[in-house]
Amino acid sequence: MTTSPAVPRTKTSVNNPRPSPQWWLALAGAVLLIASAFLSWCYVPALLGDLSIDAFPGGLQILMIIVAVLAIFFLVLRSGRMPSMDTLLDSAKALKALSATAVAFMVLVAIVIALQAPGLANANPGLFVGIVGAALMLAGSWQMASDPLVDPITVRLPGWVEILVIVVMMAIILFGAAYALGQEDGTVFCLFLVFLGGVVAALARGGLFSWISVIAARHRQVLMMGALAVAFLFPFTQNGSDANMSIATQVLIFATTALGLNIVVGLAGLLDLGYIAFLGAGAYVSAMMSHSAFAHIGWKPPFIVVVIIGAIVSSILGLIIGSPTLRVSGDYLAIVTLAFGEIFRLTVNNLDGNNGPRLTNGPNGIPGIPDLEIGAFNFGDTHTVLGIPLGRFANYYFLMLVVAGFIILVFTRLNNSRIGRGWVAIREDEKAAEAMGVNTFGLKLFAFAGGAFLAGMAGTIKAHQDVSVTPDQYIFLESAFLLAAIVLGGMGSVAGVLVGATVLKLLPEKLRFVADYRLLIFGLLLVVMMRFRPEGLVPSRRRALEFHADDQELADRVEEVHLEIAADPDTAEAKA
């Protein structure tokens, strides 16, 4: 590892030469925690994915081993064995968060056993060993003092190491996603979320993510390829399971639509509350041109033509809505788009031959849409690739992946272009932008119609994937969820929207028992986000700045990253 010469390396002497008693305490706790995973936690095999077997850690116990191993890694860091790593990561903060996660996790397991076994009498010694271990870890790490860190920007590893870090991270994401989707039991899934949240928080507090984000900024292309590879490989981990692939496809459609909306909201800064109507327009066009028994247009052009027609119809609707309203300021647009969403729903509800032309069958919608067939490839069939069966949903998943990739390409390229600069200028100061010659109205209208175009595209595929198209799929609540995904994930950020969309779509699917309260939970979640992190989970740097106008430290930091990347010959070349 090479650090810049300005960084003093004397820091290790703070912890050396002899680890403190706290250090030993935490280490003992971590070892106990690992030991507990090899013991039985509970008599009842049916509970929490069977924790009743001795000497064979399974399910949730493995999660605790991961926590303990991470803790030991940070403890080793603290002992000063790896001085250069030590200045990069804040082991004390990470250890505290890890220990807290372990304690919370073990206590939750105990509570679940007490409630569902039922009774703590069914708990085995392993559980108590684990609780004690977690508590020891917490006690040991509680008093640890944080050390000053070096700025991750100044740290440079050899290129291949940095790329390896990205690859490993991607592999972990792939494995984690497959594991999470594989959890059938809602309680286990919840506990997994606790584990995931805790570990992510620990690594974030430990400074790992700020380091990784610097690496990712340096190797953008590797990151993109990695993410694509993970998304592409995901269906192969599912071994033909339609249930999970169905959820994954739903998530992907939702994420793709949210990405399209993110161009409107995140880049151009226009609040669109009726975006789902554009998705619906595409879906209806596709359904009507599908040769479904209930479709009233007998024409079935090749699918690529349907996609283009659906997208164009959507964008024309966008132009009709946008051209009168985009001349005035934001609030009006929000109201008009809200109304437009309702108009769309009511219109398709009524085009049933009684009130208007017979196009949509009213509330019944258009069912029985046949599967897509592109060339000889039927999307309804199961295809076996490398011995792994890929079913109907996997086929649509791959198709949506292509669309998502296209939208991401459009998003990033527009963002880093003359048009993207115009959008940022409009967001920052519309009057000044206009006075500098930026065509503000045209750019806003383009964002609006362009976003509608992409939604229409996604809609044409969604219709086939859903088999039927009905008005109640395209209600205001869906628009609100799309917007929530963007706000939660981070406006103007591709990764953020993917995270936000995944969270919002995956949680209700996996946590059926909270389905009744999901609006309440999302509402609370958004309120909490607005209070503590208004820029979203994974914000774009510029958006983060916009939300923290007074935060000089953040501005300096963003500038530093910017300077570093600009000064870097590799990335500068890639930029040009």
Partner: protein, 305 residues
């Protein structure tokens, strides 16, 4: 009015008129902010626009640049009547800066200037997504011109810094660079030295001379009389929305009405205090070169005259 006679005394070194505003009237309800103002600016000329607070200087600027549509009168630019649309005005070749700095704070200095290139480039959505060689050429060209302009105003080293992190004086200069990026024939500077110290003011003067030497016509609103009279070829004085006098700096400087209306207030200290107290409603009280209150005032995002 003396305007007619004095125009003949304009030195012949200036070329054809670039900007001709005739009979411009701007009324807001019952208030006449600008009343029948004529202004002619020639190629290579530096025109000063002075007047006490609330005289209508910025309103007049807004009429010229299409931010307001004048109630009466017309503005001709290079012989053609300008449409009342800021964008069309910029495209025609007239750029401006703002009295209260209106940079895009969360963009870098270079990006700010590149926004100025917007109206001179034409990469559309499709081109931006496909990114053929033409797109890359245009982008590189924008970048090069923006960097040259940053060097020109002396900010070349700050190109990757966020605009909001720049010192106050640099922000003013960045605004000028951004305006220059639109390839103007005429640049309108609204109080370019407000809040600057004497040294920065001197640099600003030098910069404006260099802009003039590029062949641009310049119109400057300023309260700093020493600055105006040493900079401008001609000075136009507005009082309560009307032209008081237009002429060479010497003529304006020695005109007793100007002194009465603006410079020679009986009790200057008191005037200044009053002006400062009203600074939030009116223009910053920059009667002295370095008015420490001005930066804060200039950040309020209102545009009044």
């Amino acid at each position: 009015m003396s305007t007619q006679t004095l125009q003949h005394s304009a030195p012949p070194k200036f070329g054809a008129p670039v900007l001709e505003a005739s009979g411009v009237v701007m009324r807001f309800g019952g208030l006449t902010a600008v009343n029948n103002v004529n202004l002619t600016v020639r190629e290579g000329e530096i025109m000063g626009l002075i007047g006490p607070n609330g005289a209508g200087k910025t309103t007049f600027f807004n009429c010229l640049t299409g931010m307001y549509k004048p109630t009466e009168g017309e503005v001709k630019f290079q012989g053609a009547v300008l449409p009342p649309k800021p964008r069309a005005v910029v495209k025609a070749g007239m750029a401006r800066t703002f009295q209260n700095i209106r940079l895009f704070g969360n963009m870098t200095a270079l990006e700010n200037v590149m926004v100025g290139r917007y109206c001179r480039t034409n990469a559309l959505a499709f081109t931006s997504i496909i990114r053929g060689p033409k797109y890359h050429r245009e982008e590189a060209e924008s970048r090069r011109i923006a960097q040259e302009l940053l060097d020109f105003v002396g900010l070349g080293h700050t190109s990757e810094h966020l605009a909001r992190n720049l010192p106050y004086g640099d922000q003013r200069r960045l605004e000028i660079a951004r305006a220059l990026a639109t390839d103007p024939k005429l640049i309108l500077l609204d109080e370019p030295t407000a809040g600057m110290n004497p040294k920065e003011t001197e640099q600003a003067k030098d910069l404006i001379f260099r802009i003039r030497d590029k062949g641009l016509a310049v119109v400057v609103i300023e309260h700093d009389m020493r600055f105006i009279f040493s900079l401008c070829d001609r000075v136009h004085c507005l009082v309560r929305g009307e032209t008081l006098i237009e002429g060479s700096p010497h003529e304006v400087q020695s005109d007793h009405r100007v002194i009465e209306a603006y410079i020679g207030q009986p009790d200057e200290d008191e005037e200044e205090l009053v002006a400062e107290a009203h600074a939030h409603d009116h223009e910053p009280a920059a009667t002295t070169p370095a008015a420490p209150a001005s930066p804060a005032v200039d950040l309020t995002k209102e545009d009044r005259a």
